[in-house]
Symmetry: C2
């Protein structure tokens, strides 16, 4: 087991009707900015629940944070925060709103020239305005981790940031919110969380027995609840397990002491930046090709995954590994998610070279758990995913 | 899934030679008291590592905290803390030393008449002196939770306390410390952690799929590493998984949203108080009888446990449940731990009535996950364990 440091101070408040507890958690004299996305929280009642819970607070709001939170919009929000002397941010939304809020929390206290530096410098964020979240869309785990991803349409870039100051003070998880999520987004959440686990698990064999089993536990739970939650999003049992699995998939626990891959995300982010494909679907496009291309170095873990998660016990290591990849692709299909780029766009030719060039330009000479995948490998993987 | 609140702010620093990082974690001007037990840290080199790491600090020490930390000894330590104006406590030891330190952290800030009130009042501890731990004996999980148990020989009592102020600021887990632990104590650690999981898992079926699988993951890992670590405590792979499994077994994660039993501990504590039997061994004495006695209400979970943890797939629910109990007893035997009270003392007659009376005197009219086990049931379970 590699050495590690683990601390996750986010308080999780989980259960039905827990949004009512907001007022207990926010400092009494805070000047609160509620941040949200396209306004679905106004039609599904969550906005009203939040406003009611915060009736005694000094509250302002900023809506319209788009999926893949856009830098230009966030810069408007930053102006708003500064000119209104906001001192507590409350994200009410999914991963995009929470990630955007993390960027704002860091940007509000940033001392450099431009907040864009936070994303390009890759330095851990050590100071940030206090913030919290009410999760409305389980998927990214952002509600209990210290990372965020921000998109800049101007340059078609999507970059990551993080640091110890970026854990939410608290996050409220009420599985009832899932009732009003469109099926497409529930499918995305399932695929996103599933792939988060794969990125931290499908590497090479290590001696980290417990984290492997925890990873497999999350995958098995997502597989078990996926058809139920897609059939009936008001199924509280399925909804609560789905929601908690998404959080546990990326709150740092299963990554302690193990190698991580994250090449699927690195390539997937490019597909979102280039084509606007939903984040989760880009992962489903890249993952099968990535695992096939890297069979040589990943087959032991792929075989373990096939055995323990999909009960595939027959065959050689190679056969089990391939069956595991097939089962992964079938799982994505069972969610109604296609796994080839050509199923999303007819304009895909040249994508592999383009992404490879962008990696080279950014100086990303090696990705994956060993840092061994070159821009040339990336081109081949993306082409396999056409 | 029951609603829950989960926050665990303890920082874990895990890996080889991490004791050297102590100085980075303790406030520079702290007046530190190092607390330890019988002095084994002086022979195995851990004491020297700690003193070297804290060379630049104002450090005092208090040794001699006994297994099942004794109230009278702790009261001496409390006097020492007050008269020397200590403001940071560093436990260097196993669960007993860390639990004792938690009591002292609470007692140092306690405003009531006598610190014993902390244990009898059952109120959550909201204020405590900052403290941390260097774990030398994996078993209790005390290094990453907010609970403690203190013994008072004068009244032969063993009582629990806890509260949000009782999470260690940080805990250093170096699996190399396991090399110098006597086999008997390693076996105890394995049995203790295993039973901690059972107490949070072997109740009745719930809809909490993920926590069930996490619990099973810890049990499977302990079963996998037990023979290896007993054979060779310098096996770093086995040691690190053993150490981390013990922490995860009782850091609050697997208990979120699920019912908990803890009747095995309630009865086991009495056997330690009455006979001085090692804590872990009292659990191994009580557990099989407890599960057999409560087959009616626990058989579904026992059967799931048998299937998923021990791969017992044949037979009816009752047969699988019983096979699961037998497998549990066999696991304890594989650790060299006997599972009958008469194997520890010839003086066991009347124990069942005595424990039952003590429960009644304390007003404990019902224990277990449903609070349905009466002092009469307790008498029967203890008698089954003779």
């Amino acid at each position: 087991m590699n050495h590690f440091e683990y601390k996750n101070p986010t308080k999780i408040i989980f259960g039905q009707d827990k949004i009512t507890e907001l007022a207990k958690e926010i400092p009494a004299k805070a000047k609160v900015l509620i941040l949200y996305g396209g306004g679905s929280i106004k039609s599904n009642g969550i906005y009203d629940q939040v406003k009611t819970a915060l009736a005694d607070f000094n509250v302002m709001e900023f809506g319209g944070i788009p999926p893949n939170p856009e830098y230009a919009v966030l810069m408007d929000a930053l102006d708003f925060i500064k000119s209104n002397e906001i001192n507590f941010l409350l994200a009410v939304g999914g991963g995009s709103v929470i990630d955007g809020t993390k960027f704002l929390a860091a940007a509000a206290y940033h001392e450099g020239e431009t907040p864009w530096d936070i994303l390009t410098s890759r330095k851990p964020v050590m100071k940030a305005m206090p913030f919290a979240s009410v999760l409305t869309l389980p998927a990214t785990g952002s509600e209990m981790n210290s990372g965020a991803v921000v998109t800049r349409n101007e340059t078609r870039e999507k970059l990551a940031m993080g640091g110890p100051a970026l854990f939410p003070q608290f996050s409220i998880l009420d599985p009832q919110v899932i009732q009003s999520i469109p099926e497409r987004q529930i499918a995305n959440g399932l695929a996103d969380a599933f792939t988060h686990v794969l990125e931290q698990y499908l590497t090479y064999p290590t001696d980290v027995l417990l984290q492997d089993r925890f990873a497999e536990s999350i995958l098995q739970t997502l597989i078990e609840v996926a058809p139920k939650i897609l059939k009936d999003p008001s199924d509280y049992k399925a909804a609560s397990n789905f929601m908690w699995s998404c959080t546990m998939a990326l709150n740092g626990l299963i990554s302690q002491g193990v190698p991580s891959d994250w090449a699927v995300h690195a390539m997937g982010h490019e597909l979102t930046a280039l084509f606007g494909i939903d984040h989760a679907r880009t992962l489903a496009i890249i993952a099968p090709s990535h695992y096939k291309y890297n069979m040589g170095s990943k087959k032991e873990k792929l075989a373990q995954y096939a055995e323990r998660v999909f009960n595939i016990s027959d065959g050689s290591i190679d056969e089990k590994a391939l069956a595991g990849i097939d089962a992964t692709e079938s799982f994505f299909h069972s969610l109604g998610i296609q796994t080839k780029l050509s199923e999303y766009t007819q304009d895909y030719k040249g994508t592999s070279e383009l992404i490879s060039e962008r990696f080279t330009e950014r100086g990303w000479m090696g990705i994956g758990e060993r840092g061994s995948l070159s821009p040339g490998d990336v081109a081949k993987i993306v082409e396999m995913a056409y």
